[in-house]
Point group: C2
Chain length 172, copies 2
């Protein structure tokens, strides 16, 4: 089944965790959060769908909720590989230490080059990429675009690029 | 004719201006620059092909050479619209003033939102987008990805997004 989606940010609202994730639902009346799908939840749904592998090459990863989903997939046996920029490893809120604590391999780009990519490959079949860093700021504070597709003309080059980057960023 | 290309940066070399652009060619032996096509020249070729319109929504535009191409297209009658982030208007090397001096309409995003997009629409038909800001640093110093396509499933949403942003960023 063909996946071809363009998601724009900012989201106007933040999704209600209770409404979407809690068995008992949301009991707030009124609720300040969104009970309809957001771009962010949409993006997360692709990560949640990973069955075999998640390959991440994203400049800056500081969004706790995205990291949660990645960690959860890793816990159920999905192979996760992460490349971020070295300068963002120690950035405020960087999730790299959480990944490493759980045994996920994290590699960083060596200066002077900047690893400015923002893409993830899911199960070697679906690519999400665009202007979007994995920060909370990006979700509701930025104008951003993300394309999600399994079109091979997009997926194959990105797979090659990840392979190359993973090799280049291997620790000495 | 279908356009579907993925361009990765950094370029290993900088293209030789003389070789590609001068009538008499390049006379340096050896030449320090590239006599074969680079990703950057490839990207520029799409801008150079514009016949009717160039709609730009890019966080930061400081690359002199890209601005040159845009200004040249504007000079021959192509309608150019530019949106950048307000914070980047006064950034080192920002090309906004060059655009405005030549009569190109430049609009900036209003805080607190950050205009973090990196896309351009050429002749309402081709979109180039990805992680790439229009800076010189990005060309040879960063790992970046740019997708160029005229697939309508990509082009139509980006056209809608530009239209919306252009309206939202209109000066009061
Ligand atoms: Zn709720
Ligand atoms: Zn030369």
């Amino acid at each position: 089944q063909v996946i071809r989606q363009v998601i724009f940010f900012p989201d106007k609202e933040i999704a209600c965790k209770d409404f979407f994730d809690a068995i008992e639902g949301c009991s707030r009346v009124p609720c300040d959060f969104s009970h309809t799908q957001t771009g962010f939840r949409h993006l997360l749904s692709f990560l949640k769908s990973a069955k075999k592998s998640i390959d991440i090459a994203v400049y800056c990863i500081s969004c706790f909720e995205i990291a949660d989903v990645v960690l959860q997939r890793h816990k159920v046996g999905v192979r996760v590989r992460v490349i971020t920029d070295l300068s963002m490893e120690a950035a405020f809120g960087s999730q790299n230490h959480r990944f490493m604590k759980d045994g996920i391999r994290v590699q960083t780009n060596k200066p002077p080059f900047l690893m400015h990519h923002k893409f993830v490959i899911i199960d070697d079949e679906v690519v999400c990429f665009g202007s979007f860093n994995w920060t909370s700021q990006a979700v509701t504070g930025n104008n951003e675009s993300v394309v999600v597709t399994n079109d091979p003309w997009v997926v194959e080059p990105f797979r090659g690029e990840f392979k190359k980057l993973w090799f280049e960023t291997k620790p000495d």
